[in-house]
């Protein structure tokens, strides 16, 4: 065999089809007798539906059906469920208001689904959707999470007084209070973690069909987790047995969290397909994506850090109000709690931490996981506090971090997690060297000579990935397991198809997973194909989010490979007339240890499928194994980012001049793909800090409802990145892997805001720090 495949920069197996226009995304699927759906959506943030008149729409050319909430109620379709139960500080379950797939009497956000029109063509469906007459009585709305619990605030749901979903807390409050009482220094920040709109490049799409022959459904949908989609849809909404529903998520054009969830449109097209006995397709146009995809972030936080006179962290106190939007999306409840407060220890030995989170309903689109999901919000709290404390105490920010780094593992944090391993000094030192921090002073001088302001900012982040040990997740409220499944099918001539419950929507699993398989089996990567995204092919899957695919899905495959090799050894022992214990497997060859007696992998596979000479008394024929893997712990990727900005004081425009990222993702399978994940995450993080911010007005209108107003970064907004890695191996999975998908988006915002505040010489600035925001900050500073 050639060089090892693990760690190799292998070009991607999936690229040829994408580069030649042969990808098959959901909207590319057109079924025989296809019909098209258009949704009628609420134009109001909050309103009662007095009546809906569909007669004109029903009479319009090409229209096949118009359905409203009444039809949904009559069909007894359930509401969209939330997959995570949070228990509040009083031991009470969170408030879970009904989330109907078509509105029942009231709409609660702009974009809320009111009716669906199905027609022969999309144009006809859209023409007729304009003819559906909805008589609304508008109600006062509340969009800002800070106002949701104010006296007299408009109330969204009867079952949730004060628009409160839950008040939840983690940590030892008394210990924190005591530590603050004796602190030499307290740093306090009060800020908004801005609401983001994911904007995967492929809009959401769903195409449902029904077969009368066997009373079964097929849903093509742009989803990150087709099995979860199926489970939620069948068991909780439609009351169907799972074996009658197939969910296919072929090529998916980016997810970033927004395609984890079960959405109303998915249910409606599936249900309607049976009503019409024809397939029903819906693809969001971008305007619909803006108002109806689940958004991310949207916290208001007051955070404090207590330090002793030498800069040792004594305690942290965090109070957050999290906007969950108008209804609970699939994982909305666990994002600002389980995936947030548990990360507040960061890379530091802070002995006491307390965090209280109040989740509120508002007249905005549901908020759920968006790349990083809770961990960017936590990292922002920690790294803004640390940097600010360093400046206030006049300690070098890197030095203050080093003073407080965790160095002994395993490390039990005061916020529930136990870090298995890490080396934060290593990533910090490497980042400082790669980023030429030593040369910063000269660069600052050069910027100043041009009349520009220059700043430098750090972020040393940690994330909990490889989600999740099911028992732990269950004890925290998860209503599902978070294992992963994999199946390795060896074909008679020795080539291999692997079925994974992980889902690739850009991550490159078809290559990375194939590298793992080919490496373990000692075969050319061309002989391995990875299949994902189809519930009829794959035994089960929990899907891809939380940087879990390689750590959990990859491990499931490794476990299945172990079984393949174990069975192969038995077959080889029989063929070679040797004891099973004497068989070794390496580089595609089963060998009797210490001899030259051997059988090739292909020969063993062939014997398994053409079992003429086979140990039938001990073994079944065939070579096909599956495995479920439930992780023992989270994984803990960590790293240091250093950002340098140059600001034009005349216009307030910030240019990201240099960016250095050194990450510890554990073992790296394909460095090329990992670097790509980091680049992409960084730019989403830069987007949050610099350009992106969803804005609702006081009536609940989304002001940033298109690319004309919501700014995702373009190529000329960002620099080339210097990225590198350091490696400590995850201790509890066989590959030693940790995950890399979200790091960039987690670490980037605080690094960038730390750099901007450094350049401006101010304590804080709101995200996104647009040119106008920076200019205003400079004006205020001048006036002060």
């Amino acid at each position: 065999m050639g060089a090892p495949l693990i760690g190799a920069r292998i070009q991607r197996k999936e690229d040829y089809r994408f580069l030649t226009g042969a990808g098959q995304y959901t909207d590319d699927v057109t079924l025989p007798h296809q019909t098209h759906a258009a949704f009628v959506r609420s134009p109001h943030g909050h309103a009662k539906i007095k009546s809906i008149n569909t007669s004109k729409a029903k009479a319009a050319p090409g229209v096949l059906a118009v359905f409203t909430g009444e039809d949904i109620a009559a069909a007894k379709l359930g509401g969209l469920p939330c997959g995570w139960l949070i228990t509040d500080v009083n031991g009470q379950p969170m408030k879970e208001p009904p989330h109907p797939v078509l509105a029942q009497g009231k709409v609660r956000y702009v974009g809320d689904h009111v009716a669906v029109v199905i027609a022969e063509t999309l144009d006809q469906a859209q023409d007729a959707a304009e003819l559906v007459q909805v008589d609304y009585e508008t109600l006062p709305a509340v969009a800002d999470c800070r106002l949701a619990r104010a006296k007299g605030a408009p109330q969204l749901h009867e079952i949730a007084p004060n628009n409160t979903c839950y008040v939840w807390a983690l940590g030892d409050k008394a210990a924190v209070d005591a530590a603050f009482a004796k602190a030499a220094h307290v740093t306090k920040l009060d800020f908004i973690n801005n609401r983001l709109i994911p904007n995967a490049i492929e809009p959401r799409a769903a195409n449902g069909s029904y077969s009368r022959a066997d009373d079964s459904y097929t849903l093509y949908v742009a989803s990150q987790n087709p099995h979860v989609e199926r489970l939620l849809m069948t068991a909780f909404v439609m009351g169907l047995p799972e074996h009658k529903v197939r969910v296919v998520s072929g090529d998916v054009g980016g997810g970033f969290g927004s395609k984890i969830y079960l959405y109303a449109e998915d249910v409606v097209v599936t249900w309607a397909a049976k009503q019409l006995n024809r397939p029903v397709k819906w693809t969001a146009d971008r305007s619909e994506s803006y108002v109806s995809d689940a958004h991310g972030r949207d916290h208001h936080t007051i955070a404090e850090l207590a330090l002793d006179k030498d800069g040792k962290f004594l305690a942290m106190r965090v109070k957050t109000t999290a906007n969950v939007g108008a209804y609970l999306s699939t994982f909305a409840s666990c994002i600002p709690t389980i995936l947030y407060a548990t990360l507040l220890s960061g890379q530091y030995t802070t002995p006491a931490i307390h965090c209280e989170v109040t989740a509120v309903f508002t007249n905005t689109a549901p908020v759920d996981a968006y790349r990083g999901a809770g961990r960017p919000e936590a990292t922002y709290v920690v790294e803004r506090l640390v940097e600010t404390a360093a400046r206030e105490m006049k300690i070098d920010p890197a030095e203050l971090r080093r003073k407080n780094f965790i160095r002994s593992f395993p490390y039990q944090t005061p916020v529930a997690l136990q870090y298995d391993i890490g080396n934060y000094d290593a990533t910090m030192a490497a980042a400082q060297k790669l980023g030429d921090v030593a040369g910063y002073a000269a660069r600052k001088k050069a910027s100043e000579a041009k009349g520009k302001l220059r700043g430098i900012g750090y972020a040393a982040y940690i994330e909990a990935c490889g989600i999740a040990p099911s028992a732990v997740a269950g004890s925290l409220g998860a209503r599902a397991g978070l294992f992963e499944a994999g199946e390795v099918r060896v074909h008679p001539t020795g080539s291999v198809t692997v079925f994974t419950g992980s889902h690739s929507h850009g991550q490159g699993h078809e290559t990375t997973f194939a590298q793992v398989v080919a490496d373990r089996l000692g075969m050319p990567i061309e002989n391995v194909d990875i299949v994902h995204g189809d519930t009829s092919k794959i035994l089960f899957g929990m899907g891809t989010y939380g940087s879990r695919s390689i750590a959990v899905g990859g491990t499931a495959i490794v476990k299945a490979l172990d079984k393949i090799i174990a069975k192969g050894k038995k077959i080889a022992a029989h063929l070679l007339e040797a004891a099973e214990g004497d068989i070794e497997y390496a580089n595609g060859v089963f060998k009797v240890a210490g001899t030259d007696k051997q059988k090739l992998f292909g020969e063993v596979a062939f014997a398994a499928y053409v079992p003429h000479n086979y140990p039938h008394d001990k073994l079944e024929p065939g070579l096909n194994e599956n495995a479920f893997y439930d992780p023992a712990n989270f994984t803990f990727p960590a790293g240091t980012y250093i950002c340098e900005v140059e600001i034009d004081p005349e216009t307030g425009t910030t240019k990201v001049e240099r960016w250095t990222a050194v990450d510890d993702f554990g073992k790296i399978i394909n460095p090329m793909i990992v670097e790509g994940q980091v680049h992409g995450g960084l730019v989403q993080g830069i987007g949050q800090a610099l350009t992106e911010g969803a804005k609702y007005d006081s009536t609940g209108q989304l002001v940033t409802g298109s690319f004309m107003d919501y700014c995702i970064p373009r190529a000329d907004d960002v620099p080339m990145f210097q990225v590198d890695t350091r490696e400590t191996l995850c201790t509890h999975n066989p590959l030693g892997v940790k995950g890399c998908g979200e790091a960039g988006a987690i670490g980037a915002p605080p690094a960038l805001i730390n750099a901007i505040t450094d350049a401006l010489g101010i304590k804080d600035i709101a995200m996104p720090a647009t040119s106008q925001t920076v200019w205003r900050a400079l004006q205020q500073k001048k006036a002060a």
């Binding site: 305007s287 004309m708 107003d709 106008q772």
Partner: protein, 265 residues
């Protein structure tokens, strides 16, 4: 997009006649604004009169005193034209800043002017260079062409055929882009015409407008410092999510100063 009747006349007179027939007819030039508006169902014309087949509406001519650009000339052609670059480099540069590459390959001068988007680039050049707009019905002076938000002096059925830009002594355009749409938050075109200076700004008001005080200051001395400290009043300027009136007012000064610097290079 709503349904409409589609017409593809062979000459501009037929086009004008077709457009005049229906009150809700729209002229389709490059379509880079109109097609978007129709897709979003914000515009619902009954009739579309496509000028795409009328070849003699496109083209660039340069003589000793002016650059004459056909209404259907694409932005990319103006941006890439060696003749325009030589005669009025600021105008070629402006055309190269509109939208993006793909948009510039379709979008046209006539379409941009007729649409009169408050944040479009070309109107600043038309005003600052004191261009003359020729239509199927006659000519319009630049100063009398832009009437307000998406409003021009064009009458129904009147089609722009070409625009004549006098060649200035020196001129330049600087644009502060809306980071999302890449339209102008503020775009300032400064033109030293030899016998006076004209300064026009786009993005700041309901339509492009001239800045008399700056023109006066630059007329006295064409140098960045003449405008660097000239404060523009924020009253009446556009204000939106991306830029308040105050910020826009400030940016006008900065962009004007930088345009003068560029023109002097």
């Amino acid at each position: 997009m709503h349904a409409f009747n589609y017409h593809r006349p062979a000459n501009v007179n037929d086009a004008a006649a077709l457009a005049a027939k229906s009150a809700d007819a729209k002229i389709l030039a490059g379509g880079q604004s109109l097609v978007q508006a129709m897709k979003l169902r914000l515009a619902a014309p009954t009739d579309i009169v496509d000028l795409g087949m009328i070849k003699d509406l496109a083209g660039i001519k340069v003589d000793a005193k002016s650059v004459i650009i056909g209404a259907m000339t694409r932005h990319a052609e103006v941006a890439g034209s060696a003749e325009v670059k030589k005669a009025i480099p600021g105008l070629a540069a402006l055309a190269g800043m509109i939208g993006d590459r793909q948009v510039r390959n379709m979008g046209t001068l006539g379409g941009a002017l007729a649409n009169s988007d408050p944040a479009a680039d070309y109107p600043a050049a038309v005003l600052a260079l004191n261009a003359t707009i020729t239509t199927t019905k006659g000519t319009h002076a630049a100063d009398k062409f832009f009437k307000g938000l998406y409003e021009t002096a064009l009458k129904p059925g009147e089609i722009i055929t070409s625009v004549s830009f006098p060649i200035p002594k020196r001129a330049a355009y600087t644009k502060f882009k809306n980071p999302a749409s890449r339209f102008a938050i503020v775009g300032v075109f400064v033109a030293d015409m030899g016998n006076g200076v004209r300064v026009a700004v786009t993005g700041a008001g309901p339509c492009a407008l001239r800045l008399a005080e700056m023109e006066k200051a630059l007329g006295a001395k064409f140098a960045p410092e003449s405008v660097a400290n000239l404060k523009v009043k924020a009253d009446g300027l556009n204000s939106d999510l991306h830029a308040s009136a105050e910020y826009r007012a400030h940016l006008i000064t900065v962009m004007a100063k930088r345009a003068v610097e560029a023109a002097m290079k």
